[in-house]
């Protein structure tokens, strides 16, 4: 069949020649796919080569240069309490039984120009949207100076300056921070100046003037600032030392002074709050590992004068964290309110006064000495375990025993917390 077909192809040629031609043609046809395959391979190699060569020039995935770094941090919890929770302001802490959106934080970070950078953090909750922090920071002031302008956490202590849901080992605040500064931490609108002292070791001096609209310790009955005394002043000295590559010690002292909202409009001169704070932290990193052990302690004392008298109250917390590796972390925390034991001086009588002249649409109960300003004795012990499936997710279990000796009641609390981070990851504060 084949022969006849070939013979009919070239009638003038000898049969031998014809057959050898056919043989070559058949071999050629058989070899074609192989040749094509090696050509394909060569093309692939070339493509790989080109990809590498051009990688530096063509950057298809490079994020758009003019958009700020955007991140979203979602924090949810489910809480259980054995009894009524001890007083807390409904903000980002677990405060009722059942599931809760603690916060959905939107972060935007970028250089504004060569001189300043901006950081904006919006907190979205089921109640609405709030400006958590929004500030610009100078990058290039001379003489070790740095300015911050906008709304930011006051430079008081260590915990208060942190977005605690993200970077601390517990789902809630230390008692002393909750009692002194409320659910939204001590923050305000204003200006901060910090100075890196020209010393052979790290030491930073910070001063800030902020609007006094804290929910607990600081506030003015009117939004109008009539004189500097209506503002909240904060000062801090912080230092840090390395003992080798692995051990770091940090210590700081802070002071805040501002008007409180007791007593109504004309009283801000006499009704003032002062808070003194001392903090200490030590962190030991394991050799060649993500693991570390950290201890952090803060002590604060607050003196508030209110019409007719005043209150003195102190409190402290101490926590110990062990990060075992990239995935697991465990922590224990002790809280103590009443260090020194809270006491009243004079005859603070406010709170009974019924003052209808005060603005109603305000976060403060103006004129009243709220339960957060009154001295209290309270003790709490908490433990937590956190698991990080990756850098961008965290699952946390926490249990507290919260005890009010005066009321003779203790509350067991248990939280399950879940957090995710999407978008660009911001650098962590140490």
């Amino acid at each position: 069949m084949r022969k006849r077909f070939v013979l009919s192809l070239a009638p003038g040629w000898s049969e031998r020649a014809r057959i050898s031609i056919v043989r070559s043609v058949v071999w050629f046809l058989l070899a074609l796919p192989l040749a094509a395959r090696s050509q394909e391979e060569a093309a692939e190699d070339l493509e790989r080569e080109l990809e590498q060569e051009l990688a530096a020039v063509v950057r298809p995935a490079a994020p758009s240069a003019l958009l700020p770094d955007i991140s979203v941090v979602g924090t949810f919890d489910a809480a259980w309490f054995s009894d009524e929770p001890t007083p807390r302001l409904p903000a980002h802490e677990p405060f009722h039984r059942g599931p809760q959106l603690q916060e959905l934080e939107l972060g935007f970070r970028s250089s504004v120009d060569p001189f300043v950078r901006a950081d904006v953090f919006l907190a979205v909750s089921l109640e609405g949207i709030e400006v958590e922090q929004a500030y610009v920071t100078t990058l290039a002031l001379p003489a070790g100076l740095r300015l911050r302008v906008g709304q930011f956490y006051a430079p008081f202590g260590r915990f208060n300056q942190l977005h605690y849901l993200e970077v601390t080992p517990f789902a809630d605040q230390p008692l002393v921070n909750r009692r002194f500064f409320g659910g939204e931490q001590l923050r305000g609108l204003g200006l901060e100046v910090s100075y890196l002292l020209p010393l052979p070791f790290y030491a930073e001096l910070v001063g800030a003037a902020l609007s006094a609209d804290n929910a607990v310790s600081f506030g003015v009955p009117a939004v109008e600032v009539r004189r500097p005394r209506d503002l909240l002043g904060v000062a801090r000295l912080a230092t840090a030392f390395d003992l080798g590559d692995r051990l770091t010690l940090l210590a700081g002292a802070s002071y805040a002074n501002g008007p409180n909202a007791t007593g109504g409009l004309p009283e801000t001169d006499r009704n003032r709050t002062q808070v003194w704070g001392a903090d200490f932290a030590v962190r030991l990193r394991d050799a060649a590992s993500r693991a570390y052990t950290a201890l952090q302690a803060e002590w604060m004392t607050r003196r508030a004068t209110v019409p007719g008298g005043g209150f003195l109250q102190g409190g402290a917390y101490l926590w110990l964290v062990r990060r075992f590796d990239a995935r697991w972390e465990a922590a224990i925390r002790a809280d103590l309110m009443g260090l020194p034991t809270g006491r009243a001086f004079g005859d603070p009588h406010l709170g009974e006064r019924d003052d209808e002249s005060l603005p109603a649409a305000s976060t403060h109960e103006h004129g009243a000495v709220g339960e957060f300003l009154e001295p209290v004795r309270q003790r709490r012990l908490g433990v937590s375990v956190s698991h990080y499936p990756s850098e961008f997710q965290r699952i946390r279990l926490q249990a507290n025993h919260d005890f009010l000796p005066a009321e003779g009641r203790g509350v067991w609390e248990a939280f399950v917390q879940y957090q995710f981070v999407i978008g660009s990851h911001g650098a962590h504060v140490f």
Binding site: P60, A61, P63, A140, G144, P198, L199, R285, A288, S390
Partner: protein
């Protein structure tokens, strides 16, 4: 008291004596080692990251702010490698000279030639990807050479009085490196084409230089901890190959997992002791690479068919 005043004025005077020496800060020990070759005796080089820690997860300790505050030049790997800790320190440094975009800010990923593994798609479902490509460039000495020459140009621009000294230092280092590169390539030639299994994708530039083939990685995706099922399939994959690929782990990776994979797969394990300065024998870049390649060659030889 007088001692205190003296001490204080000495430090007040420190910025004034800036003329005398150029002050460089480098994020990683290897980059610091290259900068040291260039700067020589004409300046100081401060290194931020300790040599035994994963460069992705360095503690941004406030104490590091001091070195950045004083630096005239910051040398960093770039490509977002230090994104988890450097930005906070830079904002705290109060030093306009070393901010991004300034001449005092040197991103070495712009110097080291083509960047490998630039992701075509950015998605964290693919792990903790680096949007600008793989930033672990310094383990390829040809790239290290380019980095050193690039640092010299930058330092020369910042301190023109000693420009020629920096360029000479860099040139001498480059020549020394050329001889070493030839020697290293000769030593590693028998192992060309051999397979290896790194813990993290941190050896692509080394592999690119030596013609090694990355078979798989111990972690399934960058920054994701390996599951037992991933490890099982990895071990099976390694066992299929003759000669056996070498498992390579840096010291900060999970040594127990790396050891288990190597043992179960019958493959040798090579532990990279960290960065320059991690051991007494690896005090400069050349010594570090010598040590690294010795370990690597020993690994390949022990798995020879």
């Amino acid at each position: 008291m007088r001692a205190l005043v003296l001490l204080f004025s000495a430090f007040l005077a420190a910025p004034g004596s800036a003329r005398a020496e150029i002050r460089v800060a480098a994020t990683l020990p290897a980059l610091g080692a290259l900068a040291r070759e260039v700067v020589g005796t004409h300046g100081t080089v401060a290194v931020l990251a300790p040599p035994d820690q994963d460069p992705h997860f360095v503690d941004g300790k406030p104490t590091l702010i001091l070195a950045l505050h004083r630096a005239q030049l910051l040398v960093h790997a770039g490509g977002d490698l230090e994104a988890g800790w450097l930005p906070t320190l830079l904002a705290g440094a109060r030093n306009g000279d070393i901010q991004p975009g300034q001449p005092g800010n040197l991103d070495v990923s712009t110097l080291a030639g083509p960047v490998l593994e630039v992701p075509a798609k950015l998605d964290r479902a693919l792990g903790d990807v680096h949007p600008r490509g793989n930033p672990h460039v310094w383990l390829d000495p040809r790239r290290a050479r380019r980095i050193a020459l690039g640092i010299a140009e930058r330092v020369a621009a910042l301190d023109p009085e000693r420009a020629s000294a920096y360029r000479d230092n860099a040139q001498r280092f480059a020549e020394r490196l050329d001889r070493k590169i030839a020697e290293w390539e000769e030593r590693m030639r028998p192992h060309r084409g051999r397979g290896f299994v790194p813990y993290h994708k941190s050896l692509v530039y080394l592999a690119d230089w030596l013609g090694l083939a990355e078979v798989a990685t111990v972690e399934p995706l960058p920054g994701i901890a390996p599951s037992p099922s991933h490890l099982a399939s990895l071990i099976v994959e390694i066992r299929k190959r003759e000669p056996r690929p070498v498992v390579i782990a840096e010291r900060w990776h999970n040594q127990r997992i790396a050891r288990t994979v190597a043992e179960k797969a019958g493959a040798p394990l090579v532990v990279v002791p960290g960065d320059v300065g991690a051991t007494r024998e690896t005090s400069d870049y050349v010594a570090f690479m010598d040590d690294l390649l010795r370990r690597l060659a020993a690994g390949f030889e022990s798995a020879a068919p």
